[in-house]
Amino acid sequence: MKLKHSLFTRRQFLNGILGGWFGALAASVLYPALKFVFPPTREPDQVILPFSDCEDMKLNTVKNFPWGSKPGLLKKNDDGSYTAFVAVCTHLDCNVTYLSDQRKFFCACHDGWYDESGTHIGGPPPRPLRRLILSIEGEDLIIKREGVE
């Protein structure tokens, strides 16, 4: 059955074509299935809080706010300015807390420590806490993700 100059036998050719089309059909069914199983979870571009809520915060305290499905922490610094963090440990995704008396962020899962500017200073965390960008527009405190205009 094999031709003189052919690289494949007829059977190999048939098997290859069958397998190829089957694979293509299977892939085109798998794609929507994967889209269903992995739905897009986007973190918000920005969160708007009424500024009046955080105006009377004491110095060196924090306030919780929801950043999408993660907790966010709004911190009032000693000079009266504000900083916002995503309150999730950069080690293994636990939520962190702020200890006012020690002026440190603390993650209880694996004893991770960050100083008051969010820099990792002890324990396993590999990176500083993620910062968010703050701006005040009229009555609103606008908290944005880095890189969003």
Binding site: L18, S28, V29
Partner: protein
């Protein structure tokens, strides 16, 4: 004189027609709006979710998928038919040669 009269008649006719059309248009819009609000109201009260493609992108995607799927099925069946012919022939050859022994 005649000309002026004609012009006035024409102008008033145009205005009358125009206002009539405008009125009709307004009325039509009002009716359409009423209908629309009624429909949304009905939808809200029934609260039935009819499933289907969300947007044009999804519905074109569906048509592309269905036509691609049937194309692939037809091609595959064609090649499977060839394959069936091949394996049946192989089986018959083996069957006959087995019989001869």
């Amino acid at each position: 004189m005649m000309r002026k009269k004609k012009l006035i008649v024409l102008c008033s006719l145009i205005i009358a027609l125009h206002s009539f059309v405008l009125l009709r248009h307004d009325f039509a819009q009002q009716v359409a709006q009423e209908e629309k609000t009624e429909m949304t109201k009905e939808h809200e009260s029934q609260d039935k979710i009819v499933s289907g493609p969300k947007d044009i992108k999804e519905s074109t995607g569906i048509y592309v998928f269905v036509s691609w799927m049937w194309l692939a099925i037809v091609v595959l069946i064609y090649f499977l038919k060839l394959k069936i012919k091949e394996v049946d022939r192989l089986f018959e050859i083996r069957y006959l040669s087995g019989k001869k022994k």
